[in-house]
Amino acid sequence: MRLVLFILSAVITICLIISLNSQLPTGGSKTPRLGYFLSPQKGFWQNAEPVNANLNEDLKLDDLQGNAEVYFDTRLVPHVYSDNEHDAFFIQGYLHAKFRLWQMDFQTYAAGGRLSEIMGDSANGTNFLNIDKFFRRLGMVYGAENSLKTMDADPETKAACDAYTAGVNAYINSLNESTYPFEYKLLNYKPEKWTNLKSALFLKYMSFDLAGFEEDFERTNAKSIFTKEQYAALFPYGQDSLDPIDPKGTVFAKAGINITPPVNTDSIYFSYKKPVAPVTPPVKPEKENGSNNWAVAGTKTKSGRPILCNDPHLSLYLPSLWYEIQISAPGINAYGASFPGAPSVIIGFNNDCAWGFTNAERDVRDYYEVKFRDSTMQEYWYNGRWRRTVFRNEIIKIKGKTSDTERIAMTVWGPVMYDKNYPDKLHTNKAYACRWKAHDASNELRTFYKLNRAKNYNDYLDAISTYQCPGQNMLFASKAGDIALKQQGQFPAKWRGQGDFIMPGDDTTYAWRGFIPDSANLIMHNPERGFVSSANQMPYDTTYPYYLGGTYPVYRGYFINKRLSATQHISIEDMEKLQTSNHNIFAEMARPVLLNYIDETSFNSDEKKYLDIFKKWKLNNDPGEIGPTIFKLWWDSLMTVTYGDEFSQSTLPLPWPEASTLLDGIKKDSAYQFADDINTTDKETIGTDVMVAYKQAVAVLQKLDSAKKTEWARYKESGVRHLLRIPALSRLNLISGGDDNCVNAYTKFHGPSWRMVVELTDDINAYGIYPGGQNGNPGSKYYDTFINNWLVGKYYKLLFANKNQIQKQTDLKGKITFRRS
């Protein structure tokens, strides 16, 4: 009997330990190992940082070459003072890891198609294996490997990356299962050693995000249901209200490269009736990834010195993409926002100048149809003969399951992204190879490395000269008084329409005709109007000889240029106001058009009420306004009423027209050709559509009203989500203004990721803020500290100090000394 009791209780104890030491299935995912997770000595409790902790530490590490000190200011921004450059990058890596390790590691898992390794093949309804396959087949790892070779070939970049990697790994080596960042404990895996390839992968991810938007398959599908004229009206080249970066009237030299379209384009490329089964990629970069940047010359400012402003718009996440830092070492003293995952300051300033970026939005990813000889895909038809395929095996490890191998056929174009193995939705046996600029070897880090050290305009030109992808509008201003903007990147020299659709890949006919010569890329240096600016609008008007491809938002740029032209004696406050402006210039243009078509005579009281609010609305997308909600619902509804019938001709994905296309269309022509509903015998006009759309909008508004959600912020329900999209780790339902056509382009989860205003006075006068916090640990009080101030448009004065000045600061949060052991 006693033996039985002993055995029974021993079994219970052991079972209890085993189950608390395993990940148990729950709903669509798995629990952490609960015993470990809850253990106050090992688990998540160890990540709950004391709120009054200081960061003082003396570190002795093997890989250091000299001595360095890091001071943390009151917002936890590190100021690094090192006696040599190697240690500066080493420390940057160490600090990125100390505050953001999980995030930087996770981002490279995503970029490299390795999420299944930590998440399993699917969890909570997300098919991670499919996402991994997408990134592998897109050639992310292939591109990163290519770029790494170029980065290694440049001694300065290699030295910076090596030092950075060593710094990250020095921190990782100091960890144990008690001190792993929170998310590792939650998901039950361990940090992995950092490598230079991971930095390259991270940068390729930025290329994916910023130079990965295309609608080639959707447009190919559109070609099958629209006539040439309809297509041109739905997806026009250029917009009526366009104010290009390079102002209208600029005369361009003729193309130096032959960009005459191939002779057979009319029959086989611009054929508007041949259906192709398109595919829906599981991941798509945000179409609205955009940004604003501008610099005003001293002639327009109060101080007589240039002011540079930048706010890159990205999907907003916690931990934030950005990490503020000051790096000071011989030859460098730079401050700004850095990428956890890469050395150098990315957007910022130094003793002499400031720099910033917006996305060029150019289309640099195209697809070619490849004809394989047979199902083994060993050979494909190219230039009149069968050519051997090279295969690239990508092994995707899957948590708890056997690995999956993607056998990717590599062609002259690039990886075959879609074939019979991927994805299942492809109804044809056709294969499509992807040609993407990001596949090419390039060293983008050199640009940031050099910009951090730039002293003048020529240094800036040299720094950006080698930059290839993702193409950016690179802004510059200096204490010497220069302002400049260059659209920098390698852009394919395309004929009109090239790459809008899937192209034939039988021979070289449809290949890119090389790259646009650098001399044909726009550069503006101290223009007479006293400012340079970009907001992702088309860089040139349509007289530019090379085809631009892509889609370009038009309104923010128009508004910024209008404001900058009209303003003199500009101060920092003026620029902050402009950067956080909720003025909806699109609504300003569209409202009179809508009101022109409205007939109020038969309106009921609700319809009258909302129209009245709309008429009185001051055109600002402020959080408490109801006007923006009415406008958004009305306009979206009008888009659907106008185009929905035409677009329902296909059940397959189609590109959706831009809002500017509809506005330009109805302003130009009251008998707008798409106004008629093709499914009815009646002849609808734009007037009918506007009325129908309004009534639909009112029906939605009534529902919103009963839920108290008509105010713009309540309707928009903005947030900043944790990378794992776990609500408890995110900040949701934030009270915020803005929208994609406002300078403050904050939509639901996407917006100004780093606002910076720099006045280039003798002592740099700089302000900045990002919607996050310096510490990526959800258990730190610095996890999301900036968000509330960011929401209301406040800025922090950026402390750009030398060592003596910083030592006098009384509110420091700590000091770490780094010494060679």
Binding site: L5, A10, L20, L34, P40, Q41, W45, N47, A48, G779
Partner: protein, 125 residues
Amino acid sequence: MKFIIAVILTALLGYAAPLYFAWWSFAITSFIVAITVHQNPVKAFLAGFIGLSLLWGFHAGIIDNANDHILSQKVAYILPLNGSSISLIWITAITGGLVSGFAALTGSFAKDYTRSKFQAENVTQ
């Protein structure tokens, strides 16, 4: 007195062991405590349970207090405990306590068994 000694030893050793070994290593120390400070099964279980519950509960509580409940509130939404830090501390304490309690119970039975075997052998001699 024996009970209090068992509770204190369970807590002390339950803290020391995971400093060097896995989180569950306290189960072994609780087992050993129950053998060396032998009590009836109910008391042994309670001593094991209380010793480790107090340890984990207080440890978690001290950390949580210094952290202003920032992390515990988030975790208490993930687990899900409706954001209650106190519930999370209780769950933590009970989880540790259960493992320790059953380990101690096993220890008590083990001692009973070996002792009875020993006595049986003595009788036959």
